[in-house]
Amino acid sequence: MAECGRVDSHTMDKSITLPPDEIFRNLENAKRFAIDIGGSLTKLAYYSTVKHKVAKVRSFDHSTKEAASDKLYEISVQEEVTARLHFIKFENAYIETCLDFIKDHLVNTETKVIKATGGGAHKFKVLIERKLGLKVDKEDEMSCLIKGCNFVLKNIPHEAFVYAKHADSEFRFQTTDPDIFPYLLVNIGSGVSIAKVESEDKFERIGGSSIGGGTFWGLGALLTKTKRFDELLQLASKGQHSSVDMLVKDIYGGSYGYLGLTGDLIASSFGKSATADKEFSKEDMAKSLLHMISNDIGQLACLYARLHNLSRVYFGGFFIRGHPLTMHTITYSINFFTKGEVQALFLRHEGYLGAIGAFLKGAEEDNPNQYSWGENYAGSSGLMSVSPDMYPMQRARSGTFDMLEMDRLDRQLVNLPLLQEPSSYIPDTVDLTEDAPAREYWLFCFEDALDGVVKRAVASQPDMPEAAVRAEKFRQKYRHKLQTLRYQPFAYGSLTVRSLLDTREHCLNEFNFPDPYSKIKERENDVALKYYQKVVKSLEELSWEDRQFALVRGVLAGNVFDWGAKAVSDVLESDPEFGFEQAKRQLEDNSGVDIILGVMPLVRELLSRGTEVVLASNSGPALNDVTNGELQILTERIAAMDPVIQSGLRDDRLTLVQNGSSSPCLDLSRLDKALAMVVRERKTDLVIIEGMGRAIHTNYFATLSCESLKLAVIKNSWLADRLGGKLFSVVFKYEVPAGKPSQEAAVLTP
């Protein structure tokens, strides 16, 4: 049974003061409400549209303008409306206050119903209908859970994790297999429901057990006179079960070697309490009860997994809900009964599954499942350890409000078809969750760079006087994120340089700094364009072999121009005249600003030898990386002066595609569907990945099923040390999969 105990309900607390506009965000446009009311927590979901600023580039008509000082293209900050899903979790005690707040701020009036699920839904039905004036439409809990589970598994990387109590990092996040089915979902509410999920629409409740969270709570309350679930867990965490349980060694004097049962194994739960003349401590009884129930659920889950031949088993329900103790005992039980064949998996957003599912049921006409969604790190609380005495930061807010926000992505994201093993692909080179010194370094790095980012953000919007205030808010938000991550590195899945960069982009967007580098990029592009023909000409004068070297040096030299790397931005900030010549000196050669003078000549060379080229670039801005929009314009300009590029475009041998990403890093398992299609159609047989974010921080170890070339300059001394080189060392990693010769087309990802 998935139903949560509707008991010991807290009295309605109306006097509580909330910072509600920070929590129920974007209510003005909110629609499609759904609510999941459990035994103690309420989860509210709604859909809203968010207006935010985006930087757009638009080409001028250069045929009418000739002056060299003319701007390359027009950058305009426009308002764009994007869809966002909001999920808020709060204690049932606040439900009335929250409903009032929503009522007061809800502008959209087309909403007529609210989807509801969870054991408490009917208890609060009247209240919800009265407060919101919406009709409560009940949805089956199990179906909601599964719908929600499918949604998070598909859309949130690092959603699932394995719990390892004694490991360096308690949470080991799983790479999501692109095919999430089939799996077993074990929901431990007051009872246990076990469902087998085979596809988006096909699932079956294959079994369950009456021994669940309600048994722990109810029996625990009887045995220990402790009323609250959390307090029972607290007791259990301090107890010794061996004083209550009869262990194998209590019967055998040692292990039962013949069967391989160790002496510490529980032979009979509560076997030692079968006596009237002994007192047992509350802690010990609670611990014994916890073991009894966890082992029993684990055993049943294993029996069902075996019967249905499933190896992915996800656990959820209020018994689990982020409690390290129950995650540990369930994990232990699963390991014991399957000898490690099946891993117990938990979900970061487990508490939201019902609300997400109920929401999706009510939002079918918006086709939410046809889009890709992404977790917005700026608006989401992240996973909080609820361990009582582990981290000082954790309970600051989680006791009251917890949020998850998901943005609808413009593009549908899929795997790069050329990934050797999509199910085991890990984009990131260093997992900062597990690598404490690396984590320390990078958190410091990002905090240290914050002033510069703020400065640049303000500078990027010189016409907006309030930019400074917004930038300050950005600073505070991002700094708070960094501080949280110091204590809870697992908050958004594995902590990586990529996630730190993405979090920063999300926070910048949050405060309407969509593209702080747009002006700088434009200036650089403009300058670089002027050199293009000169560079091409000098390259053409070289012998074939010398030219190849020169081309590679060109790409690498261009790569030095990276505002994300502190070493470079320090030089650039202090010496505005720093330019190409200096980069050349440092690399002892050649010319070009990344895309125009580095990548384009390479593209040209490839085209000249008859290779088809797919040039993939970011969909949205990230640092000073070229966006697809900018690249379109730049390519047109280059085509106007270079017949090779021009004919390439005309004959469709040079294709510009966006990669679906707005990050300086690259997750090859979340790429634009259109790019994946082109890659497949063109039978791509060489992938060139360029830049520190895409080829070093991510994908350094990625194995592809075709030839690949990873190119970058190490612009960070710590990373150079780590990789055993010096600052500004060059990475040129050419890999050939076994038994794959010739090449016909290439994908470039600057």
């Binding site: 009456s210 109810g218 004097g253 076997g271």
Partner: protein
């Protein structure tokens, strides 16, 4: 793990191995005991020869006579030892000797008293081998030696269990049938105990419910494996009952359970859904959450000790039922034999198991029970004495 004892000649059954063995080896000297020392109870079987010749009678030492008299003339020993007279097997032929097989039990914590008695009666002077199984055979081996000067021959409990079950089933011909089942398990008014002929027993799922539970898949007399086990067994029922109700014996706990109502303690499907949960075929009467109602303070205050005892019994029994059912499915076995002392005088649990097997498997699974429910390990140990495998 699959156990295979040394193979014997084809076609032999456990009933006649002994006779053949007799011609090959010396029959053990009396007394013939088999012992199973479990976590909670010690089970003792004793073969009382009834065909003692005058010659034998004369040779018989006084100690042996006194032990025989003591055991067979009493039905209770000390304050806690009990002979289950109704289980006694009379006129049994064992290794060419005719006699009665007696079934005796006492709590494991009284083992020191038993050892003291063995010492007082100079048991060790008989130079007999004491075949013992169960964890206690290992745990107390040293105590047997130091306190009673007895050397134990230790045997694996599951080997003994399987051997004992198959033996008792094969020798039962007269009297009440050893194996039985419940007819109409899903209809309380017409649910009656019926004899069952366990003619071709394999494959068989054997569920031994003692303090804890072991589940074995038996494919032939000497080929079985332990499928799994659970720590939620008889010991859990009694342990929780003692904590919840203050009772102290199994009989007391069962008595209370028989008077209680578990639906006041448990949260049923209908308590949540108002009736059946049709979407998933769950009947309203099914337990959704064992002890689920006890999350509420008011309900905690309104239940009786009897209700709690009943809920504990139902919880433990149903859980064993559901694990058993899953094992039967995984092993593809349709017949389940439940044994172990948890089922002693526990018709409530047996009927619940019969019901659960039948209902949840839609009639596919049959629950079988054996009259000598807890003694098979001890019988197996005795057989080992008479005919070592």
């Amino acid at each position: 793990m699959r156990h295979r004892r040394d193979s014997r000649e084809d076609g032999e059954t456990s009933g006649d191995t002994c006779r053949k063995g007799q011609t090959q080896t010396m029959t053990s000297s009396f007394p013939w005991f088999g012992m199973d020392i479990g976590g909670t109870l010690v089970k003792l079987v004793y073969f009382e020869p009834k065909d003692i010749t005058a010659e034998e009678e004369q040779e018989e030492v006084e100690n042996l006579k006194s032990i025989r008299r003591y055991l067979t003339s009493n039905i209770a020993y000390g304050t806690t030892g009990i002979r289950d007279v109704h289980l006694e097997l009379q006129d049994l032929t064992l290794c060419g000797r005719k006699g009665n097989l007696h079934f005796i039990r006492f709590p494991t914590h009284d083992l020191p008293v038993f050892l003291q008695m063995g010492r007082n009666k100079h048991f060790s002077s008989l130079h007999t081998t004491l075949c013992a199984t169960g964890g206690g055979a290992y745990k107390f081996e040293n105590d047997f030696r130091t306190m009673a000067d007895l050397q134990l021959h230790k045997l694996d409990e599951l080997d003994c269990l399987v051997r004992g079950v198959l033996y008792i089933d094969s020798v039962m011909s007269s009297g009440p049938s050893e194996c039985y089942y419940f007819e109409n398990p899903t209809d309380p008014d017409h649910c009656v105990q019926k004899p069952y002929l366990l003619e071709n027993p394999y494959p068989l799922l054997l569920v031994n419910i003692g303090s804890g539970v072991s589940i074995l898949a038996v494919y032939s007399e000497n080929n079985y494996k332990r499928v799994t086990g659970t720590s939620l067994g008889g010991g859990t029922f009694l342990g929780l009952c003692c904590l919840l109700t203050g009772c102290s014996t199994f009989e007391e706990a069962l008595e209370m359970a028989s008077e209680g109502e578990s639906t006041r303690v448990d949260k049923l499907v209908r308590d949540i859904y108002g009736g059946d949960y049709e979407r998933f075929g769950l009947p309203g009467w099914a337990v959704a959450s064992s002890f689920g109602n006890m999350m509420s303070k008011e309900k905690r205050e309104s239940v009786s000790k009897e209700d709690l005892a009943r809920a504990t019994l139902v919880t433990i029994t149903n859980n064993i039922g559901s694990i058993t059912r899953m094992c039967a499915l995984n092993e593809n076995i349709e017949r389940v034999v439940f044994v172990g002392n948890f089922l002693r005088v526990n018709t409530l649990s047996m009927k619940l198991l019969a019901y659960a097997m039948d209902y949840w498997s839609k009639g596919q699974l049959k629950a079988l029970f054996l009259r000598h429910e807890g003694y098979f390990g001890a019988v197996g140990a005795l057989l080992e004495l008479l005919h070592p495998s």
